[in-house]
Symmetry: D2
């Protein structure tokens, strides 16, 4: 096993991107502080056609989870009432549903507490402030302010002329630069960046195992790119977010540690960026108003989200 | 029991507000058809300050459900991993959550199939197209297009100079007119109208039983007001949406039948409109961009939503 | 599709094994009426060594379900408290678990309402007395009296000198006769018969797909054997109970209809009979006290059970 | 707060009842080791009439939990299929259920890991061997051998000529002696002792809050009684097992710590002993065969059980 603490590259990057204390010792939302009213006003101003593109996968038993990640179950939809004439025959009848699901199972945000490293979560708090009976006492997903900002699609696959990236493709800062150039839009502080690999096409075409593994994803070197640009949050169209298996042998989930723990930046996974890719290509612009508020589970270390891009 | 089918007022209104076939026999989304790209462009243009106001209650065990509605359970948040060093000591550790909840338990949209009447759901389809194994085959909540539009707050309580409406107050078309006048904004086709009663203050102050019952809510005569204005969807800050117990003795849930079945118009419940009320009063404007996409549960007869108003 | 109603063999057997009205119009438990106090006394008298053999599979995420049966989910075990010192540091700490599972997912009894045929359940009641909001109004699994009786193992595989039966082996009345002969024990009224195929070895050796399909199981002709012997209940070590795919092409689940609907006889599935097979062979006797009370879910159409054979 | 570690009486008793190492360092089942084949043979020999008495409460939404214990939810019964003609019209139709529940919510066994004290569980193992992703690595409820033994009802309420004990009644060793005397049966090694307070009558008569609190229950001094007699397990008819609020002010759950952690003895709660009390009084004997195998959830710190007494 390669421990992050023993890897010089990880350690150096961690030091450079660390945001602990940047917004005060009390802060629980990290880079979401960068989404100012001004950023949102500018985001609203990007709307031109009024087209809306949904980015969530449907929530269903046949979801993206394969069983590879223990306990992260696809949504189980059940009924507790079915055309029930509660007040007698001929009265208005109701149907009611109940669901069980993993909060990280479908299109979701990883909350800042979804991972810890060396016993710490974001802002240097002890990892054991996340408990079974209350979830995350600090930086729970319910603390994320209503998440609306400017969204920018960095369509790495399309910028490379590919339908999707290969399973061993680590998306590098250079890839991000090229996709930004391709987009014609400069990423600004407070933006939510959507990185498209095309990997989710595997799931959409029916092969959820191929979708899961191996998977292209973000390189260990991307957190610094996002940090330099003061991005508010990043999401992509893969199960694991970062390249999986990892680029440095046996160094697992370094990007999670850098983004969530060191920077305090939300990560989004399993976002369906296919229709958005088509729409942006058609409209020849890659910026939009993005609404992506997580379902506010108290103490959640993550949450499902139904993001919408408004162009 | 007073059956809707036997009540002349209900029957007359039902006839006048019925939208079956209006958008074709294949239609599954009803009044959401009224949210055009143009409407959304205009909605984006309402943004001035960039302030964002979240309208969802936190999702937690101590939610609004009291047990009064069988099977509609408050969210149960559980952990399936807790700082788990999956790859060995010193590696990045993950925490994962799972949840069980009623889809109509918290801040939610009632889907068009949440109620049926006389064996029918919206667009005249048979009610038994909703089943236990797949939920709603037609008009499932996942069919609702990404729900973003202009929102208008009709602050009935504030317009009347009250903190909240009394438990036996049926919000009438006249109340809506007065609140519209008070708002200075004319409700337009495709708008999402938020009707504030202030009732949710009961829950927020710790008394969920008082919140549940008795409750102010929309009168049987309001669907026609919404129909005339071609509103896309309506939400409020009560558990039951309509006045409860009902205004006509033993005529239960007539508004649900009119809105969902006859008109094909989504209803939202348990929306927290308190902060929005303050913000609108402060900014002296009652229109905003409203993002409120339901979590897209396949076949869901309703779904949680984390709405955000952007002013 | 071959409809049961159109198949002469099915129709004839159904007529012969039908128990509707046999224990009165009010009866909800069918052949469990055959378990009299006398039967149980005799069952207790079979105990000689005091050895106890558990017959339930462990309840866990990695259970027998493969996803083939929609909605029938393996147990998801989660924590809601973990060494929680509720009353302060140094006080006694508690751990609490929550679970979500299909009632028919693991070692279970099919209740009498688990299937219906031609709109009817056991005793001729309408199938629509099973509803989403209350489950089974009649013959719910909670109605089964505490299920203890004499158990008899019919070890069909061992009687044939095989480790397990082939995937296309329909266990016939002749197989039951041979296994009964092999056992040296005559099946009597009120007995619970356990039929061993050895199929569960597939699951135990790690191949749950091979376990599920194709699978040996009981032939369409066995219900009459059980009926003639006045057996109280039957369980086996397969996922589907009856042979799957079926012996008559496209005639699906005829044994379920005969056992549960016509006879009113509980069926057990996914029972691990491997250790019992060894023990019976060792002790050279195939009768024992069997305790197998289902978990009494109100309205359940089935329930998990943790059966124990006492020899 | 009174810490167990600071209370001399607790400390002394703990020392005297401690069973760590008694069955070896590898042992995970504690006093269940006392249930030998011989004990079970003798248990079977107690059966005279063949009457069976079920001791489990029905599993339903309207169960004993009031919300007082966070996360311990009553069973939510839902449907995932309802008379579903999977293979086409006229074919055999299936109904399937799913459930979510707290493992300690209804009639259950506390596993040995349900509590820890001073960082330890039974046999001196570290408490943190119980985790969110796997539950209890040691002494999980699935490790309990098939739980059948002789049961003895100590009907403390009836022995005192009362319907039920008062809410502030701590059942003492002297109470146990008197009830044993009343029963005419001497408690022996390996027995499962059922202690009846009558408290569950509160729940059965519709008042679950009165059932929960205040509640009679076992005194701090009873573990030594059970230890001296080498009892295998103890269950009663209360929510909290021990007296609640506790007899020594602010010394919470000492009996849990003594029984589960020090002795390694399973505790049962919410057992309905009313019918059994009537039956034993009628038959004038208080011993029986007791079958009470917990549902074997892998890693469970407790589990539902559907116990049956066979007289």
């Amino acid at each position: 096993m390669t421990l992050p603490a023993d890897n010089p590259e990880f350690r150096d990057i961690a030091k450079r991107v660390n945001n602990w204390g940047r917004w005060g010792q009390e802060d629980e939302i990290g880079t979401l502080n960068l989404v100012t009213d001004e950023v949102v006003r500018a985001a609203a101003a990007t709307v031109r056609t009024g087209r809306r593109v949904p980015l969530a996968l449907p929530l269903q038993q046949d979801g993206v989870q394969t069983g590879m990640i223990a306990g992260r179950v696809n949504p189980l939809h059940t009924m507790v009432a079915l055309n029930l004439e509660l007040f007698g025959p001929g009265t208005v009848a109701t149907s009611d549903d109940a669901v069980t699901m993993g909060l990280q199972a479908a299109t979701h945000w990883d909350g800042l507490t979804h991972v810890s490293h060396a016993g710490k979560i974001y802002n240097g708090r002890p990892a054991d402030t996340v408990t079974a009976h209350g979830g995350a006492a600090y930086s729970g997903i319910e603390k994320t302010r209503p998440l609306v900002s400017r969204g920018v699609l960095l369509d790495v696959a399309r910028a490379r002329g590919a339908e999707s990236l290969a399973g061993d493709h680590a998306v590098t800062p250079e890839d991000l630069d090229a996709a930004e150039e391709f987009s014609g839009t400069r990423v600004r502080p407070g933006d939510i960046v959507l990185v498209r690999t095309g990997q989710i096409r595997q799931y959409l075409s029916g092969d959820k195992h191929a979708y899961a593994y191996p998977s292209p994803g973000l390189s260990l070197r991307t957190p610094e790119w996002f940090h330099t640009r003061d991005v508010a949050a990043v999401a992509n169209d893969t199960l694991t977010f970062e390249i999986f298996p990892p680029e440095i042998e046996d160094l697992w989930m370094p990007v999670h540690a850098l983004d969530l723990v060191e920077m305090g930046m939300l990560q989004g996974q399993n976002w369906n960026l296919e229709e958005l890719s088509e729409t942006c290509a058609e409209e020849r612009r890659y910026e939009f108003l993005l609404s992506a508020p997580p379902e506010p589970f108290t103490g959640g270390t993550g949450a499902p989200v139904a993001p919408v891009a408004v162009l």
